[in-house]
Amino acid sequence: MTEAVQAVPSRTAAVRLAGVSKMFGTGGAALLALDKVSLDVAPGEFVCLLGASGCGKSTLLNLVADLEAPSAGTIDLGGARVALMFQEPALFPWLNVTANLELALKMRGVPRGRRRARAAELLDSVHLGDFAGKRPHQLSGGMRQRVALARALALTVDETGGGRPTVLLMDEPFGALDAMTRDLLHDEIERIWRERGLTVLFVTHNVREAVRLGDRVVLLSSRPGRVVQEFPVPMERPRRIDSPEVATLAASITDRLREEVGRHGA
């Protein structure tokens, strides 16, 4: 499951983007955010999208999540649903932690009688079993983000019939956390990904984070966003973000990224 399946043109991809472009506005003020991005993500693969500001990383996730429509190209999820996690926890403040998860489960067709137990399971899986009755504001930033992760996991449940698979999209989910908390959450997301066999598309601007987590790191250029280069990450898991191997690969990716950024200053 952890081996990176290289993009081969066959229907084995969980997510397939083919020539996807996104244009904002029209006429002279039009901005090309994404330019012919093609990308295959294999089932069970952990892919990190990396880029500087303005590379359209978040736009790309919005397109995959069907929150926006592409201007050109196709996005094929093979009938899979998506769960999306943001930099902010975006929990509903009027609901306690359990009720937040129960709402997500309800929307995935879990019958009322089983929601409480499923929510408790999910909370346990992010180590927050003792905080079921708390409201989001009573938790720390890292804990809220774990509840958001549990909610995203709740959306990977599908009991509406058909049992469709789910792709987990993460939009800089740990960007607002301190380094200590972030390192722990890296371990946490890796464990959950491994246990559940999830397909993850993870957006970040932190090069080491991308190398720490990804089976593959996809580097995007900025304005417009294009795939510049893909870096398979060969190191064995579990990796440490401060290990020399991670640092070495991160350094070479950073050099490539700087080269890209530098083109905009010329």
């Binding site: 769960a83 709402l103 180590h127 409201r135 908390t181 722990l184 371990d187």
Partner: protein
């Protein structure tokens, strides 16, 4: 540690996955405990006192200022009696059945008027908040109605409904409904976009979107609208009771205008104090609801 006699596994060997997970559990729990360091709770009596003493001080300052004006000899004491003469009159008034009957009529009008205004405000707010175009079209009109002094409606109300309960109700509803509608519209407008995105990814659409996201998200703004609507309803009602005097009914407004006709200034000021107190008490009730929501949602920095 180095002198531990138990046989430890070779520290150089890769830890087993289960051991790693257990360590992760422990570290997360430790971090959670550190980040949730308990805040200190104050004694409830001390909290009530911290709210009450500034209010009492403000009342004392107001009464003292009133007394100072009386002492200055600016007006004869039968025109402007001081607190020492007025407060016994106030006590005398509130121990009479006629006062309580008047108060009951006034409060019944207030409650009915406010209830009708809430229904009307919610209906209008719900319809207008449906689309951006409607919000643009009617938003400024509703805000305009809100700034219109309610007393300006009375000539029309009296033409339409003569001197009747309906005339008063009409003006009270027109006074309060725009604020309530505006509160609801603002609440719908300011539903945080990030929550809307989260809701859409969850699959919230149509009725579910309103029920689980937009309605709860607009609650604080709606309560603020109710609070302001109450203030307008109460003002309109007092204006109405002074202008629209129906047969031999007695209300607070009627008592107030009779006291003026008889030049009983002490009575008049007593009624004014009652009107002020009712306004403050109900405003505080809305304030309590508002604070309860804020605390529940963590909108207050504590």
């Amino acid at each position: 540690m180095a002198h531990d006699t138990r046989t430890e596994p070779d520290p150089g060997a890769a830890p087993e996955p289960s051991g790693r997970d257990a360590r992760l559990d422990r570290e997360l729990a430790g971090l959670d405990a550190l980040e949730l360091a308990a805040g200190t709770r104050r004694n409830p009596l001390a909290r009530v006192w911290s709210v009450v003493w500034p209010m009492l001080t403000a009342v004392l300052i107001a009464v003292a200022a009133w007394q100072v004006v009386v002492w200055s000899g600016w007006k004869e004491s039968w025109v402007l009696p001081g607190p020492a003469e007025t407060l016994p009159v106030l006590w005398d008034q509130i121990t009479r059945p006629r006062f309580w009957e008047s108060l009951a009529l006034t409060m019944r009008r207030a409650v009915i008027g406010f209830a009708v205004a809430t229904v009307v405000g919610v209906l209008i707010g719900a319809v207008v908040s449906q689309s951006r175009v409607l919000r643009r079209a009617f938003g400024s009109l509703i805000t305009g109605l809100q700034t219109m002094p309610s007393i300006a409606w009375f000539p029309l109300a009296i033409l339409l409904f003569q001197l009747s309960e309906s005339a008063i109700l009409f003006v009270v509803v027109l006074g309060a409904a725009p604020s309530i509608a505006n509160g609801l519209i603002a609440g719908v407008d300011y539903t945080p976009p990030i929550l809307l995105r989260a809701g859409k990814v969850m699959g919230l659409r149509g009725v579910n979107l309103y029920r689980h996201l937009i309605m709860p998200a607009s609650l604080p703004s709606f309560v603020a609208g109710l609070k302001q609507g109450w203030a307008f309803a109460w003002r309109s009602l007092m204006a109405g009771e002074l202008l629209v005097i129906i047969g031999d009914t007695t209300s607070l407004g009627v008592l107030l205008s009779q006291a003026r006709e008889l030049s009983n200034t002490a009575d008049m000021i007593s009624y004014m104090i009652v009107i002020l107190i009712i306004g403050i008490v109900i405003d505080q009730l809305f304030g309590l609801v508002d604070r309860a929501i804020r605390v529940r949602w963590g909108l207050d920095a504590r």
